[in-house]
Symmetry: C2
Amino acid sequence: MDTKEKIIEIANEQFKRYGLRSVTMDDIARMAGISKKTIYQEFADKNQLVLEVFTAELDKDKSAIDCFPVLEEDLIKHLVELSSYMRDRFADINPMVLNELQRYYPQCWQLFEDFKKEHIYKQIVDVLEKGKVQGYFRPEINTEIIALTRLEQMMSTFDPIKFPPSKFNQVDLQVELFEHFLYGIFTDKGREAYQNQKKQTNENHN
Amino acid sequence: MDTKEKIIEIANEQFKRYGLRSVTMDDIARMAGISKKTIYQEFADKNQLVLEVFTAELDKDKSAIDCFPVLEEDLIKHLVELSSYMRDRFADINPMVLNELQRYYPQCWQLFEDFKKEHIYKQIVDVLEKGKVQGYFRPEINTEIIALTRLEQMMSTFDPIKFPPSKFNQVDLQVELFEHFLYGIFTDKGREAYQNQKKQTNENHN
C-alpha cells in the first residue's frame, strides 16, 4: 500500500467513527505515523481528502454489488446478499457523516447525489422490473414510485431529527426498512423464496 | 351556514385548488359575494384565515376517522375505509399547499406538525399494535421504526423535488405507498383479509 492509499484508509476509518468535522489533518497524520507535510503532498486540503475517501468508498460499493449473483440467475440470493452487505456496511458508520457531508462538503454531496441517481436508483428499478418478470414481485406495483420511495427511505435513516441516533442504530433501521420494502412488493412465490434463502444463508454462516 | 363558515368553506376550496399564496382576500370576498370589510370583521388577516381553514380541515379528518369501524372489531375494514378516505381527500388538494404552509405560514405548519405527532403517529402505532395482536401483521416488525417511516412517507408525496407534480398525481402516490406499507407488514391472514375486504367494498360501491 502506498502512502496515499494508507492515508485514505486511515482517514476513512476515523471519519466513519468520529464524523468528518471532528477529525483533523493532524489527527490523520499522527495515526498514519507521517508528517502533516506528507499529507499535503498527496491532498491539496481536507476537502480533497474527504472527496477521495468518499470516491473510494463508492467504488468499493459498486464492485461489491457487481459480485453478487446476477439478477437473471438468482434475484432472491442477490437480495439476501445485498441485505447482509448493507448490515455490515452501516454497522460502523457514524450517522453524522452524511449530514456533515451535505452541510460542509457540497462537492462530495453532489457526487453522492449523482451516485444515488445514476447508480442506486437504476439498480432498484432493474431489480423491480426483473423481479416482476420472474414472478417474485407483485406485477401491479408502480416501479417508479416504489423505487423513488425506497431511495428516499435508505437516506431517511441518517436524518437525526427523524431517527435520533441516541434511540436508533443504523443497522436496525436499515434492516427493518429493507425487509419492509421487500415484503411490500413480494408475491407469495417471492416471500417463500426469500425466507428459504435467508434460512439457508444463515445456516451457512453458522 | 353563517358568514364565517361560508368564508372558511370558500377559502378552503380556493386554497386546495390554487394554493395558498395565489389566492387573495379580494378573490375570496368576490367568490363569497361579500365585501372585503366583512372578511376582515371575521379574520384579522390572511394568516388567521389560513389557520382557521386548516384547523377546520384537521377537525374534519379527526371526525371522519373516528367514524370508521373500531380497530378491536374490524381492523381490516378500518384500513380499507381509511384508504378510500385518503384517496378522496388527496384527489383535490394542490400539492403546493403543504410546501407553502411550511414556508409562509409557520404557525399553521406547527399545528400540522403537532397533529402529525399527537394524532397520526399515535394512530399508526395503535393500528400496528392491535394488528399484531389480532394476527394481521407480522409480529417481528418494529412498531416505532415502521410508524415513523409511514408518517414520513405520507408527507414525502408532497415534496415537489422528490415527486414532481407534473409527473405524479397525489392519489396515485398515496394509494401506491399505502398499499406497499400494508403489504410490507401483513401476515398471510392479513393479506387475505385485506384482499377480500377490498373486493367486497368495491362490489358495494358498484
